[in-house]
Symmetry: C2
Subunit: 184 residues, 2 copies
Amino acid sequence: MTSHTPPPQERGRRRRAILLTAAVELLTEAGFAAVTHRAVAHRAHLPLAATTYYFTSRDQLLAEAFAQLIQTELTTLHAWITDHGLTALADQIATADRHRQLGLWELYVHAGRDPVLQQIARRWTDGCVHLIAETLAQPPDHPRVRLLYTTVSTLWLEQLVEQRPLHETRTLLTIAVENASPPT
Amino acid sequence: MTSHTPPPQERGRRRRAILLTAAVELLTEAGFAAVTHRAVAHRAHLPLAATTYYFTSRDQLLAEAFAQLIQTELTTLHAWITDHGLTALADQIATADRHRQLGLWELYVHAGRDPVLQQIARRWTDGCVHLIAETLAQPPDHPRVRLLYTTVSTLWLEQLVEQRPLHETRTLLTIAVENASPPT
DNA sequence: ACTAAACTGGTACGAGCGTCCCACTCTCCG
DNA sequence: CGGAGAGTGGGACGCTCGTACCAGTTTAGT
């Protein structure tokens, strides 16, 4: 029951964070089926019972790991886009840790079956759309923004899963960005 | 070892098909984690050993179930689009069995970690793109076609996972289809 | 009718899983 | 400095899993 409110003691809070990080790592390395109590505990160099002590259930652990994953991913994306621009996203996709992203999408789809995760999934989409809106200097609910997001999203997932040649992705992304740019 | 070549006897072939159907059903109802030898056998009203007899491993069973799933899904889609047009796709997404589609996407993402499934995943994307190309009466490798597919794909997945209001999806889809239509 | 191959189905094994339990040790605060 | 609550860790329970085994039955071809 110590999981809804953070553990009151410093060391406990740190241990909890370590477990969460370990869960994210496992999630990104081998999919969410690999995020078991034992695997997480072992990765965190903590005894098995620590996972059940700091998290009421595996589902909760997964939900928090998911939330943390999209948080870091969004900040990474934000940094990349402001540095290199939208069209360079294709290279980011190719550069970034493939398994990490696969873990994210895996959990995203899984969110369709779990209301708790669903809420987090919405945060992910909203975050991405917001990011694109910022870059295009347009309101997030503008169709242009939403449509560009859909293209980015699919190209990203497709690249991850199917590993098609990169230049195709880059070409399509460039066209999409041009289309989405407001007429001068 | 009877799994690479189809079982020579009629009854065996039928049993194999029943198992496969049961696997697809389970996959679509509760995700691919639910596709276990026991569950499949029970659903098919066959003894446990039948699954290992007709399929060398669970992975093979899953791969074949995936292939069958995308096959049927593609023909369903084809029928819907020729009957109702592309913009009505939003309603198809809403109408169709949600869990069924979730199972498909679940396996699609999973394909990113499994080369065998990856090949099948490519077939899925190619099939969808081809369908859209047909409807637009344009070559499948035309950027307009590919871009429209990316929009359809994301909206579809998003609708499934996040269950946003349907009218948004419909609006965006309409705009995307208009954009993709060749200038008159 | 007979033999080999295909098929059947009940059972067993070893492993991993989530969760629970409990005796123990710390750490903080009055 | 003492007690209460937080934290610890080793073990155990009950379950499901993939896979293997094998004695028995059916089927197909000669």
